[in-house]
């Protein structure tokens, strides 16, 4: 039976919801149009832009018709030697940060396999950012198996845990990057600051080392100095760069870069995009539009989502939204050189079926590695 108070609360929700929607659309529109708001939060609309349904897409769409802005001369520069601190091998770095779980298993088993011990194992997975759901599921599977098989020793439990985690990564998932007949186009997307631009530098260097001719598109026309940053990476990686001026339409940059790649016979075009929160609808639409524009004349072979291993449970929501907007083909998990374990990758692959393809393990040109589920799980367990 539904009582009256439910509806009272519903009414509250309706009132608040409507007012909030009213306020936020006002704000969103004024942000996009660059309008001023007066003290009461009212939009002051400038002359000549009073149209009711002006809904420009994304940021910067207002500035500079791209056709009138020829791409800056692509700057092909010889690879530059990057001074790099001597870095310890990945294995060491991973080991340093991941030893704890082995200790956990031992601690847990030291006291015998009681409920607390299993709780501790679950806690260890949670601390690796797998999320409570995955952690609980893995532990209860292992628990059942251990009971059935009579496993009580540290190594045995550890092996079972590794198996259960590994089972969450598809054995036959395509983890290599797809490169079709030239020019192949790869889009790189993700929320702000996850490592998109850096990853592009690393990927370009790797591809160049395989003898491919690479061009980058500076389609992040929003963040201050984003093109300059990408340019530095292009120089380091020995790739060319196509850019427009700041604020230009990102789709147009990608489009021109594609034409450039085709004209010069390049094998691969990598498109850098502005970081954006996955909750911002106009910005996600903008991303979908970039893809559509490229596909008018070309073929997008990869859409790589860059996820920060430091991030927690929100990674799953990010992956879901970006996949819906652009059809993500693979994930790059960055910043695994810290102590964060990137456990959310388990859920991303298992729940969304998006393969993890690469990992970032530092800020140098060479700090990019293929994702290997077995090593990842091993590292996760210590």
């Amino acid at each position: 039976m539904i009582t009256a108070v439910v509806f009272a609360v519903v009414a509250v929700a309706i009132v608040v919801g409507l007012i909030v929607a009213f306020v936020t659309t006002t704000r969103a529109r004024s942000r996009q149009l660059g309008l001023e708001e007066d003290a009461e939060g009212r939009v002051v609309e400038p002359e000549g832009r009073g149209g009711v349904n002006v809904e420009p897409e994304g940021r910067g769409g207002v500035i500079a018709p791209p056709a009138a802005e020829p791409p800056a001369a692509p700057s092909a520069a010889p690879p530059v030697e990057v001074p790099e601190a001597v870095r310890p091998a990945l294995r060491d770095r991973l080991a340093r940060s991941r030893r704890f779980l082995a200790g956990r298993v031992r601690d847990a088993l030291g006291a015998g396999l009681d409920d607390d011990a299993w709780d501790d194992l679950e806690a260890a997975l949670i601390q690796a950012d797998t999320g409570v759901g995955t952690a609980t599921a893995v532990v209860s599977e292992v628990r059942a198996e251990a009971r059935a098989a009579g496993v009580t020793d540290v190594d045995g439990i550890r092996t079972l845990m590794a198996q259960r985690l590994l089972a969450r990564f598809a054995a036959d998932a395509p983890r290599a990057l797809t490169i079709g007949p030239p020019p192949s186009v790869w889009l790189v997307v993700g929320v702000n600051g996850t490592g998109k631009t850096t990853t592009i530098g690393k990927i370009a260097a790797d591809q160049a080392a395989r003898g491919r001719r690479v061009v980058m598109a500076a389609a992040d026309t929003f963040r201050a100095a984003a093109d300059e940053q990408l340019e530095a990476w292009a120089r380091r990686a020995g790739a060319e760069l196509v850019k427009h001026r700041p604020g230009a339409d990102p789709g147009a940059v990608a489009f021109d870069a594609l034409a450039h790649a085709r004209a010069r016979g390049h094998d691969l075009l990598i498109v850098d995009t502005a970081g954006r929160l996955h909750t911002k609808v106009p910005l996600m639409d903008e991303l979908a539009k970039i893809r559509r524009v490229v596909e008018k004349e070309g073929r997008v072979d990869e859409v790589l989502l860059v996820l920060d291993a430091t991030a927690g449970q929100n990674g799953l929501a990010q992956a879901r939204s970006f996949a819906a907007a652009t059809g993500v083909t693979g994930v790059v998990l960055t910043k695994l050189d810290g102590t964060a374990k990137g456990g959310i990758a388990v859920a991303v692959e298992q729940e969304l079926g998006i393969p993890i393809k690469l990992i970032g393990v530092g800020e140098g040109l060479g700090d990019l590695e293929p994702f290997e589920p077995r090593r990842f799980v091993e590292a996760l367990l210590g």
Binding site: I2, T3, V5, V6, F7, A8, V9, V10, A11, V12, A13, I14, V15, V16, G17, L18, I19, V20, F22, V23, R27, R31, E40, G41, V43, E45, G50, V52, R96, A123, I126, Q127, V132, V191, N192, G193, F222, R223, A224, A225, A226, E228, Q229, E231, L277, H278, T279, D308, A311, G312, Q313, N314, G315, A317, K335, G338, T339, A340, I344, E363
Partner: protein
């Protein structure tokens, strides 16, 4: 998205409602749910454990309030403890006697230091101060240019030495410039660094020693996961953290890292970044953040207040309307009057689960309410009961009558239609309140 805490409480509430005292077992039961909610919000496990233990102690020693149900009591304690850890009242920057005040920005790669530095500079400039930005991220390509561009946008001078490699030296010279120019603040942007990178952590320490900051702000991405504790501890070892800046709060991350960071550093979160524009920096509100981390809003207060504000038959009439999907502006106007009785809308908003993460920023909800009301009151009764007759000339008249713009009138009508659509969906379904997005009710009260 994960289930909100309030939905997890469904069972517990049903069992606990109307029972007198809170037994240890009941406290444990609620706390287990709190623990899960905190973990799902990315609060680091160690902090969760410490926090829950603390709450348990307080709950056991707490006076029994007659007016609160047992579960309400625990949640009240949890909420207060959360707010306490996050820093209580919103806190500003430390005042200094002799300017310039030195503010050091520190944090991991990609956490948003440079943007936060520029926002802070603009914020200070807006308050009549004369800040200087110091570009001491000498590692990331184009970081200096980025800060220079942002400084230009903010109308704040930037001390930059393109090509320099000695961050402490650059910071020191920036400070000298601030002294010479009689500036009031120096905001030092530094490279993002991994907390396990000894060389870079040492460099940060050197920068700090070079300028002896009054304020060291640890910049933390709201999406940060379990690692937040390790990060906070490592930075604490190198510099004297005085506050946290939580960035990218305009997304949908629950932001548990804020709690981890505050807990470990013992420092309040001072500012929140809520967008990419330079104005998108807000003073941090611990109370709002507490609800957001718990993912529940203040459902209990909400229910109580709603119970008071709505007459029983009024609610029943609404029920009928909802079932038939016949909701009109007239009904809406009536509801607005009731909601007004519940207090300022911004406060009511905070009570609604899931609403806390709406991107309202500092928009003034309470100033908007009268505008909406004016629009509706400028409609004729016929129009209120049948919005479909609202053509262009009627809308123009309403805009004139209410002193608003046609755009606003259009927007309100459009949103109203969306609400009606939602209602039709609800009445088509099981007719449960759950169909309202972001709103979940403990069924002890609902069904």
């Amino acid at each position: 998205m994960f289930d909100s805490l309030s939905s997890r409480f469904d069972d517990i509430f049903t069992r606990l409602r109307n029972r007198g005292r809170l037994s240890d077992k009941q406290v444990d039961e609620v706390l287990r749910e709190i623990r899960l909610a905190l973990l799902e919000a990315d609060v680091s496990l160690r902090v969760v454990k410490a926090f829950v233990a603390d709450v348990r102690e307080r709950a056991q020693g707490a006076e029994i309030h007659k007016s609160l149900s047992p579960a309400q009591q625990v949640i009240k304690i949890v909420n207060e403890a959360l707010i306490g850890v996050l820093g209580g009242e919103a806190k500003g920057l430390v005042p200094v006697d002799a300017p310039p005040r030195v503010i050091l920005m520190a944090g991991l790669q990609g956490s948003g230091k440079t943007t936060a530095a520029a926002k802070l500079a603009k914020h200070l400039r807006g308050k009549g101060r004369r800040p200087l930005l110091a570009a001491c991220d000498l590692r990331r390509p184009a970081a200096t240019s980025q800060l220079q561009l942002l400084g230009e946008q903010a109308g704040v001078p930037v001390h930059a030495e393109p090509g320099a490699t000695d961050a402490p030296a650059v910071a020191r010279r920036a400070l000298e410039e601030a002294h010479a120019e009689n500036l009031t603040d120096v905001i030092v942007d530094t490279s993002g660094r991994m907390h396990v990178d000894p060389e870079l952590m040492a460099e940060l320490g050197a920068v700090a020693r070079a300028v002896e900051p009054h304020e060291t702000l640890l910049v933390c991405d709201a999406m940060t996961g379990q690692d937040a504790v390790n990060v906070a501890e490592a930075f604490l070892e190198e510099v004297e953290v005085t506050g946290v800046v939580l960035t990218k709060l305009d997304g949908d991350a629950r932001g548990g890292a804020a709690l981890s960071m505050s807990y470990v550093t013992g420092c309040p979160v001072k500012f929140a970044g809520v967008g990419e524009k330079l104005d998108d920096l807000e003073p941090f509100h611990p109370d709002r953040m507490a609800s957001r981390i718990l993912g529940m809003g203040d459902v209990l207060t909400l229910i109580e207040k709603a119970e008071e504000a709505f007459e029983a038959d009024q609610a029943r009439r609404l029920e009928e309307r909802l079932r038939k999907a016949e909701f009109t502006f007239e009904d809406f106007l009536e509801q607005m009057q009731a909601v007004k009785k519940m207090g300022p809308l911004s406060q009511v908003l905070g009570m609604l689960p899931g609403m806390g993460k709406l991107p309202i920023g500092d928009a003034n909800l309470d100033a908007t309410m009268p505008r909406v009301e004016a629009i509706i009151r400028s409609m004729t009764p016929r129009e209120r009961n049948d919005p479909s007759i609202l053509n262009g000339s009627r809308r123009a008249r309403i805009a004139r009558g209410s002193g608003t713009s046609v755009q606003e009138v259009n927007r309100l009508i459009k949103q109203f239609e969306q609400v009606r659509k939602l209602m039709r969906q609800m009445s088509g379904g099981k007719g449960r309140a759950r169909a309202v997005p972001g709103l979940r009710l403990p069924p002890g009260i609902g069904s």
